[in-house]
């Protein structure tokens, strides 16, 4: 159990996102940008158990998943800047991050498909006896969509090695989860499909790590899928450029969740338990900041893709 690796990963996501938010304000990101700030513990706690052979599928809010799965920050940043050095070679942008070499099988601008695709990765794993898992990250909003119903059911009936990670941050854009469903107990909803379902504090990286570890162990052992209901909150706007509170959130709610920030609470926990010292954290902070800044410079100075390549890779033979 490498406590500081979890910390470093969360911090890497946070600092990358903060850079991206600033870059968005500065007009350096031509398209949309949905940050993961506040939710870092989830991607971090889950992906800590994964190898590059495990397949992660994600959604519009996917920077954190890509980073935690091992996509270098420079490639994420370069992608959002539209550069050819980006993980999708500039074809994708924020909502279409692909890095199959590390098992990041794509984020999607459409809500829902990742649930089904992760199920398919589970099917491949079973058919080929790979011992790998498929992982889907998605929001509370996706849970009302038909893809949720169909995907969870298929994984359940076929005992597929799939981890469904629902990041319930209480809102889908500005629509409250409590408006969008009469049953906000996500783990109960998932267990209706006859699968292992666990609720966990999504702002507690150790809790996520433990629950994900058990789910992934089960999946690798052929014991079927697991659903993780992670309760969390995004502390920035739905997307950069939108209001952080809008008509739907209160300052009190935001402040209360900020007080439960996954990074600062974890740091305090490690210090109070004597697991790590403030010096170590300062060291990590320096390293992460240096790496993110280097990534930012790399991204900024990378070339744009050549327009002549625009129609390449539509088909497998070109």
């Amino acid at each position: 159990m490498n406590y500081l690796a979890l910390y470093r990963q969360m911090l890497e996501i946070r600092r990358t996102e903060e850079h991206l938010a600033k870059a968005h304000q500065a007009g350096m990101i031509p398209g949309a940008c949905h940050t993961y700030v506040g939710q870092e513990a989830i991607a971090t706690g889950v992906c800590a158990h994964l190898t590059h052979d495990d397949a992660v599928f994600s959604t519009h809010r996917g920077h954190g998943h890509a980073l935690a799965k091992g996509v270098p920050p420079r490639e994420v940043m370069a992608e959002l800047f539209g550069r050819v050095t980006g993980c999708s070679r500039g074809r994708g942008g924020s909502m279409h991050l692909f890095a199959p070499e590390v098992g990041m099988m794509g984020t999607s601008g459409i809500v829902g498909p990742c649930i089904l695709q992760a199920t398919g990765a589970g099917y491949s794993a079973r058919l080929l006896n790979k011992g790998t898992v498929g992982v889907a990250f998605f929001g509370d909003g996706a849970s009302n969509n038909g893809a949720f119903h169909e995907g969870l059911n298929l994984a359940a009936i076929w005992d597929l090695p799939v981890i469904f990670v629902c990041e319930n941050n209480l809102y889908a854009t500005e629509v409250p989860f409590s408006y969008a469903t009469r049953n906000t107990d996500m783990a109960e909803r998932a267990s209706t499909y006859g699968m292992n379902a666990v609720s966990v504090d999504g702002n507690d990286v150790l809790a996520v790590y433990a629950a994900a570890g058990e789910g992934i162990r089960r999946a690798r052992a052929g014991e079927g899928p697991t659903f993780l209901d992670c309760k969390t909150y995004r502390t920035r706007a739905h997307a950069e450029g939108m209001p952080s509170l809008g008509t739907y959130r209160t300052q009190e709610e935001l402040d209360a969740w900020k007080a439960r920030d996954p990074i600062t609470t974890y740091r305090a926990h490690l210090v109070s338990e004597g697991i790590a010292s403030e010096d170590e954290f300062a060291q990590i902070e320096r390293e992460v900041v240096a790496m993110v800044e280097e990534s930012f410079e790399f991204a900024k100075s990378s070339p744009y893709p050549d327009p002549a390549t625009v129609a390449e890779h539509v088909y497998s033979d070109g």
């Binding site: 031509p30 398209g31 949309a32 992608e79 539209g82 550069r83 050819v84 980006g86 999708s88 500039g90 074809r91 994708g92 942008g93 924020s94 909502m95 279409h96 999607s108 601008g109 459409i110 809500v111 829902g112 909003g141 996706a142 009302n144 969509n145 038909g146 889908a172 854009t173 500005e174 629509v175 408006y179 969008a180 469903t181 809008g246 008509t247 739907y248 744009y304 893709p305 050549d306 327009p307 002549a308 390549t309 625009v310 129609a311 539509v314």
Partner: protein, 325 residues
């Protein structure tokens, strides 16, 4: 007359009709108090309340199927779908149900369902927020497909949609939403199936769809300076398609180019070309040409994005090529 943006003009049509007809309601994500991702409904929630401005969960198939049933039972639903890419999840409902129910019920049921929202490639929206997809709706019998290109048309066509009993796919190109035009205070309607000749000319005919209308007009301005007069036609509705106006123009000019940002194969340009070569063959002095966006998923990076949309140089060159034939 006032100047209104495309979005404001369409919203004015909507609020006028909602005031008049209490059976109209709107569903979509964030179209209630928030007023819509593109401000399509801003202010309306306060006027008409939550039953008529209905925020939804993220269930495109669900609410389109629901609106299908609503349209069969006495109300007039409007689906405000944000990006057309999202309603691909509801194609089964649209093609198998919405488009067929008037027919299957021998006209005893009507289907006054409007689907409205954004299309088009612009602003690094990337591949899941840049679609247009109208050829597939034109291919299927049962839909009206409307592609307004300015505020005036947007209002007049939306009003027509709101009074009719057919399902209407009403597509608003993102690059046009803030464009302004004179919009009369008095009520008016623009019938479906009437193209607009937006520029008269005799040297060649350009049929331009959606975002290509403005680009075609700009190119023709440049050519006018050289004394070349091109006729530009905006079909405004793709189903029904006003072929007589196009044929009349080709009769005069003998040359035809169709410009469309969307994919070429089996697109609207193919249909226009096929109809003109069948019905206007003797009028043709040159091959019919098409200028389309590149046949590829829409990339994100600005230089790539720019490379898939026909640019001013290509537009001008396409017209010159046609004239040279």
């Amino acid at each position: 007359m006032r100047e209104l943006t495309f979005t404001a003009a369409a919203r004015e049509a909507l609020t006028e009709e909602m005031a008049r007809d209490p059976s109209i309601f709107v569903v979509g994500e964030g179209i209630g108090q928030r007023g819509g991702n593109f401000n399509t409904t801003s202010g309306l929630y306060d006027l008409y309340g939550p039953m008529r401005l209905r925020d939804t969960p993220i269930v495109e198939r669900g609410f389109i199927g629901m609106c299908t049933g609503a349209a069969m039972t006495g109300t007039r639903p409007i689906v405000d779908f944000m990006f057309v890419d999202f309603i691909l999840d509801a194609m089964g409902e649209l093609i198998n149900q919405v488009a067929k129910i008037q027919y299957m019920s021998s006209g005893r049921l009507k289907m006054p369902l409007i689907l409205r929202g954004s299309i088009g490639i612009t602003g690094a929206s990337a591949t899941h927020h840049s679609g247009s997809y109208f050829p597939m709706f034109v291919n299927i019998p049962g839909f009206r497909v409307v592609v307004p290109t300015n505020a005036y048309d947007a209002k007049g066509l939306f009003k027509t949609a709101l009074r009719g009993d057919d399902p209407v796919i009403f597509l608003e190109h993102k690059s046009l939403l803030n464009s302004k035009a004179q919009v009369p205070e008095e009520e008016y309607f623009i019938p479906f199936g009437q193209a607009a000749v937006v520029r008269e000319g005799s040297a060649a005919t350009v049929v331009a769809v959606g975002s290509m209308v403005r680009k075609a007009l700009e190119a023709c301005d440049a050519l006018a300076a050289e004394g070349i007069a091109i006729e530009v036609i905006d079909p405004r509705t793709l189903a029904p398609l006003d072929i007589p106006t196009i044929l009349a123009s080709v009769h005069k000019t003998g040359r035809l180019l169709i410009m469309d940002e969307t994919f070429q194969p089996c697109g609207i340009g193919a249909e226009i070309a096929a109809q003109v070569v069948a019905q206007g063959f003797d009028d043709l002095d040159a091959p019919i040409m098409r200028l389309n966006g590149v046949y590829t998923p829409t990339p994100y990076s600005p230089p790539l994005e720019a490379a898939v949309i026909p640019n001013p140089t290509q537009v001008l060159q396409a017209i010159r090529d046609l004239l040279a034939e």
